[in-house]
């Protein structure tokens, strides 16, 4: 509709205005959160046992990137490398000689892992809540975390046996693979059970809770039978944290998380339609069962990939989407990225506080995360304007 037509029909302005105002605010929040996460990441990279100035942090990242690109080009594309070398601009090395090693070698992988895990868990939580129309659903409540714990616990208790050397896996990767496989298989199991009873949201959630308890029982049994050394290792994994961060992990997760994010975003309108109920969604031409299966599998895949490296991280998957829904409403086109960024912000802040508040001793990220996220969530409820989008 043209502006001229709108002028003739002044009532029409209201829905157009509402929609455009809402979209602008949503995009503003997503942009703001993106900038916040980037700034927080740079500041976080400078904070720790050794303090590094923001300027040195940026120079360390820039210099390291430039050198890495140069090395890659010289190795694989020498013709482009010759042109690259002629660029007159160079990024200077940071004034602190340790900055590059500390920032790029140790802190950045951890920061990236926190951001990727936050995006995956909160994005997956938003999708799962939409698919099952239940605000209490998250990767944690659907049994995924318990299953991943069981997988990791099994790998730790079994130890690096002959299979590890057979598959050329490191011991850490052995745990990661087990956690991922069990996490993802649990969702297949949950879906299979619920489907045999007719795929309603209630049976699916119930099946998730039951499967979660079964895997928790398995973890408890493994804790009971294992020796002290492995028990400690197991407890550390179960508490969750960014200890498993490495560039290998980050470079593996980045494409996976991006692909899952776009696959879920493609389903955003269908998720919106599903909010009106299965029957209405079917009438609107949506294959509800296929949407539910594919949405659950993709979100579980993203969450499992990250959980496998971090151990149990609860809360963000549940609260990230809730906090965003209170601020920008339930349009999944905006909710999924917004929840992901909110999850990234919460997890990054929590991890930074967890590793610096009692430096050099680290405390489990969950303690800080529950406190920061919980207080923020309470603040949104108490101020009573949580739904002030329109």
């Amino acid at each position: 509709m043209t502006e001229a037509t709108q002028d003739k029909d002044p009532v029409n302005v209201s829905v157009h205005t509402l929609y455009k105002a809402g979209s602008t605010r949503r995009i503003t929040l997503i942009t703001g959160l993106s900038i916040f996460v980037m700034v927080a990441a740079i500041l976080s990279a400078g904070i720790g046992t050794v303090s590094i100035t923001p300027q040195d942090t940026i120079l360390a990242i820039g210099h390291s990137c430039a050198v890495s690109v140069q090395n890659l080009l010289h190795t694989y594309l020498p013709s482009v490398a010759a042109w690259y070398d002629t660029i007159p601009f160079t990024i200077p090395a940071p004034s602190n000689p340790q900055a590059e090693l500390i920032v790029v070698g140790f802190r950045l992988p951890r920061i990236f892992l926190a951001i990727l895990t936050g995006i995956s868990l909160a994005g997956a939580g938003a999708v799962m809540q939409g698919l099952l129309r239940n605000p209490l659903v998250s990767p944690f409540t659907l049994g995924l975390s318990s299953a991943a714990s069981f997988g990791a616990a099994l790998a730790i208790v079994l130890g690096p046996g002959i299979l590890v050397s057979y598959f050329l896996l490191s011991y850490d990767m052995w745990i990661v693979v087990f956690a991922f496989i069990f996490g993802w298989l649990s969702m297949l199991l949950v879906y299979g059970i619920s489907r045999s009873r007719g795929t309603t949201q209630s049976t699916l959630i119930l099946a998730g809770v039951v499967i979660g308890y079964l895997f928790t029982a398995g973890v408890m049994a493994l804790k009971y039978i294992t020796n002290n050394e492995k028990l400690r290792e197991l407890m550390v994994w179960l508490m969750g944290g960014m200890w498993g961060a490495s560039w290998n992990a980050v470079l593996l997760l980045i494409p996976l998380v991006i692909i899952c994010f776009f696959l879920l975003e493609r389903r955003a309108w269908d998720l919106n339609a599903l909010s009106a109920g299965d029957d209405v969604a079917k009438n609107l031409g949506i294959n509800v069962e296929r949407l539910r299966l594919s949405g659950l599998m993709i979100s579980t895949f993203a969450a499992s990939c990250c959980l496998a490296f971090t151990g149990i991280i609860g809360f963000v998957g549940l609260m990230g989407p809730h906090i965003c829904r209170m601020i920008i409403g339930s349009d999944h086109r905006y909710l999924i990225p917004c929840a992901g960024l909110m999850g990234a912000a919460i997890l990054l802040l929590s991890d930074t506080v967890a590793r610096t508040i009692m430096s050099p001793v680290e405390i489990p990220v969950g303690i800080i995360m529950y406190a920061i996220g919980g207080v923020f969530f309470l603040f949104l409820i108490m101020r009573g304007k949580g739904r002030g989008l329109y």
């Binding site: 709108q6 209201s14 829905v15 509402l18 009106a276 029957d279």
Partner: protein
Amino acid sequence: MEVALEKICKEYGEKRVLDDISFSLGKAEIVALVGPNGSGKSTLIKAVAGVHGQSSGTISIDRTDTRQLDPIDLAKCIGYVPQHFTYTLYSTVFETVLLGRRQHIKWSVSDEELSRVQHSLEALEMEHMAGNYMDQLSGGERQKVFIARALAQDPKLFLFDEPTSALDIRYQIEVMETMREITWERGAGMIIAVHDLNLAYRYADTVVVLHGGKMAGYGKPQEILTPECIRKVYGVDAFVVENEQGKFLVPFRARASN
């Protein structure tokens, strides 16, 4: 626009819940489905809406079997309002109505889609509530929002399952008048399941009486909804009163056994 149902049967396991249902409706025609609870009204409406298919028989729109239509094309033909509806927290009235345009939207929402939403809300006199959250509305207002969502679909056939069940008598009359106007204006057909026989009496062109999944009557309301039919199907004694406003059914006593 012509919709035809031919020999529709629906079975759940061994149980047959719809048995050999056949009727048709044309342009701007309102068909009321009446019958006691469990007679198959909702099942029939869901079968036509594409929520679940029929076990056998054919549903055709303009002589095209609906099973041969792509789900998106079917959604453009049929707008359905269920008996029980859901909504999520933090969803607004206009966002809920906008869902009716789902099959026309790829990603971004065009001004044309928003105008359709606006007109649907205006048709039900709800434009002033466009920005309200769904949980701030009364039950009747929410039902009207879902009716507006079906209007936004701009279908050839409307299917309403108990659309006035949550409405007070004023809203009931308003909504039925609006829906009758819409069928006339748009030339759309309407199948509507109702418990209030007087609404069927007053607004329907044709009545289909369902009893135990079978058709127990089909024709004009005044000819079909007789005290004898009410007694046979519902087990209720009723009489008809007539004045200058028309005929009205007055049920007054449930019989000991049906």
